[in-house]
């Protein structure tokens, strides 16, 4: 237990942050579903997608919410002395920034599978970095769960001492 990071957030704050992580995973899931819908049903053939298509707007809004939630978890990690949570979330934030650039590239260069190599490259960057961000967010959540477990274990001992 010596090398565990529990930070100075307290049990209530940790639980609140964990709920945010769960909400973030829900957003990741919806982001994946809308992304797949665009990939399979919209741009699978000769069709292209524009910025104002409703599925695309939903996908972009979810991307913003996802980025904001991950960023908030990173800030909490830095401010409340949870270095690993902060660093894993920082990695996820960086991945999401580059993935967004990939998405913008996809939209601005045609927005379809047959629009050319740069459009495809934008799509690949988006998908690959989305998975990396999900993986890093998962590790940050694991660290928060671990901090909650340790705080719960330590608390009754402290109460007995007082």
């Amino acid at each position: 237990m010596e090398r565990e990071e529990i930070g100075n957030l307290g049990l209530r704050g940790l639980s609140l942050t964990l709920r945010l992580c769960y909400a973030n995973f829900l957003v990741y899931l919806l982001l994946y579903v809308t992304g797949m819908y665009i990939n399979i049903y919209v741009t699978s053939g000769v069709n292209t997608i524009g910025i104002s298509d409703i599925t695309n707007i939903v996908h972009m809004v979810l991307a913003i919410v996802n980025f904001a939630f991950t960023f908030v978890i990173m800030v909490v990690g830095f401010l409340y002395a949870m270095r690993k949570v902060a660093l894993f979330s920082l990695g996820a934030v960086a991945s999401l920034v580059i993935a967004t650039v990939g998405g913008m590239l996809f939209l601005s260069t045609g927005g379809g599978r047959q629009s050319g190599d740069i459009t495809l490259l934008g799509g690949w960057v988006m998908s690959f970095l989305f998975m990396l961000a999900l993986f890093l967010s998962y590790y940050a959540t694991l660290k928060i769960v671990r901090a909650i477990r340790i705080t719960e274990l330590v608390k009754p001992t402290e109460q007995r001492m007082t």
Binding site: N8, L9, I51, S52, F67, A68, F69, V75, L107
Partner: protein, 301 residues
């Protein structure tokens, strides 16, 4: 000193340090709001047929995203620090900003439709309008806990009037946006001018109340006068007066460049009102104040 009081001191110090961090985020949030507003007004008035790759639009998008992000950060950190109202208002602001952003995306695909332009302009300006009093309220609440004051202590009258002025200013901005729509023109102009006049009177009220605060004594027998608040509110009054003059020129001469100037003056008013809430850069003016005589204290009792 007992172990309990020592730990209480440490926890108070930690709370104050974290509140100071949130305060920096609120300042940054206000800065992003100002820049998003200015670039947005510039885009709306000077650039036609903006597309996803228009550089000004990319800048506006990044600034608006930064603002939404900071609203989420402030909201969640406030929730962690038990500042319920600040948390709820900022998280609501975060979601409203995202909805306004979505109308912007829809506008990019259909930028010739007058209906779409109206929806985009009004939703974005309403977001700016809602954000103005929320950032002011957050700043007031968080700065109180950063300076170690209890959040349930009553706000001063001048602070309350500043909230009202921020609300009036936000409604003025929203009514000003509706002026651009032909169907709403006459109603919006009357509303905009009326609300602007109301804002002027409220800012004047802040000046008067800030001066009057100096004439009363608090429980410790010292005067609670903050000269910086008087200066900031006077500067706000000057800015809103110039904005009024600019409005008259816009109506008589015309030209969208005057609208951009009005927007810039609006953010000046907003900034001065925010500064007058928190009144930073306190100078030590103790030497300037007259010592309170015992008879004055007795009179007040």
């Amino acid at each position: 000193m007992t172990v309990q009081t020592l730990s209480e001191n440490v926890s108070l110090k930690n709370e104050s340090r974290r509140a100071r961090w949130i305060l920096y985020f609120v300042y940054l949030q206000a800065l992003f709001l100002i820049l998003t507003y200015i670039v947005g007004v510039w885009l709306g008035t000077e650039i036609h047929n903006a597309t996803i790759t228009t550089p000004d639009l990319v800048v506006h998008g990044i600034l608006a995203s930064g603002f939404a992000l900071l609203s989420a950060v402030v909201g969640f950190l406030a929730a962690l620090e038990n500042q319920k109202r600040v948390a709820i208002s900022n998280l609501a602001l975060f979601f409203i900003t995202i909805v306004a952003g979505a109308t912007g995306f829809a506008y990019l695909g259909n930028n010739s439709s007058s209906n779409q332009i109206l929806v985009t302009n009004l939703s974005m300006m309403t977001t700016i309008g809602i954000a103005m009093p929320i950032t002011g309220y957050s700043l007031a609440k968080i700065s109180r806990s950063a300076s170690g004051l209890k959040s349930n202590e009553h706000s001063s009258l001048s602070s309350l009037m500043t909230y009202f002025a921020l609300v009036a200013l936000s409604f003025t901005v929203i009514a000003g946006t509706a002026v651009e729509t032909i169907a709403l023109y006459a109603f919006a102009v009357v509303l905009h001018v009326g609300l602007a006049a109301f804002t002027v009177s409220l800012v004047l009220g802040i000046v008067i109340l800030s001066v009057l605060e100096g004439s009363t004594l608090d429980k410790t027998g010292s005067r609670s006068w903050v000269p910086q608040r008087v200066i900031y509110s006077l500067l706000g009054l000057a800015a809103i007066s110039i904005a009024g003059g600019d409005g008259v020129i816009t109506v008589t001469v015309g030209g969208v460049s005057y609208v951009v100037v009005m927007a810039e003056l609006t953010v000046l008013i907003y900034s001065f009102l925010l500064l007058s809430i928190e009144a930073p850069l306190h100078l030590n003016l103790a030497f300037f104040r007259r010592p309170v005589s015992k008879s004055a204290l007795k009179q007040q009792e």
